[in-house]
Symmetry: C2
Subunit: 125 residues, 2 copies
């Protein structure tokens, strides 16, 4: 764990938005702890490997792992301010189990992302 990697993880944890490699690179420079873009990619990969981060759906943006719920990451992303909120929904889990039965697929993983406006952005819109 180097100081560069520490700064990267701090940045990711301090921003409510899912950040991509490019944004991380730019923001680290702005904060006075610049890191080569290649190193950003490598560090993000390493932190994903360690299970400290997870990707937000298909994008390359990442979020810290909350600790609980190892695999199943659901998020709503605000189209206004870009912030993400993760959630866990029992009815949703049950509905997915129903899909499993209906389609005959043995489901290994599911990816779900919702997009919309958060309460704050709805307010000042």
């Amino acid at each position: 764990m180097t100081r560069s990697r520490r700064a990267l993880l701090d940045l990711i944890e301090s921003d409510p938005r899912p950040l991509g490699p490019r944004e991380l690179h730019r923001e680290l420079r702005r904060r006075g702890t610049p890191m080569d873009l290649v190193s950003v990619y490598r560090n993000v990969a390493a932190l994903l490997e360690l299970g400290l981060l997870h990707r937000v759906l298909g994008s390359t943006a990442v979020r810290p792992c909350a600790g609980r719920e190892p695999r199943c990451h659901h998020a709503v992303v605000c189209t206004g301010c870009g912030s993400a909120r993760e959630f866990h929904s029992r009815p949703l889990e049950r509905a997915l189990a129903g899909v499993r039965r209906a389609t005959g697929f043995s489901i290994q993983e599911h990816l779900l992302e919702l997009r919309g406006l958060c309460a704050a952005c709805m307010g000042h819109a």
Copy 2:
């Protein structure tokens, strides 16, 4: 509607798997109706615009639009053979409505993809 575009649409409709621009380009060449890769991109974009195709989740692969259900495309993709099956689930819709209430987000769109093994691939595995 040119013959090239016709061949492209036929190809997409004849394969149960979601196909990306690269695969479409390769397969069209193989079928004796080659099309420039740029034209594949442009034609896919045009067909998406016309509402005849839709993207499968975050990827660039496309599927024909079934006709019903204009916006809400859910799919299970087989990790074995790559074929996709689309579905519609009322309980799932209800669960998403619950998430909307729980998070306070005004949800504009949702993307959902499931990955697993289809019945056939489970059989000969």
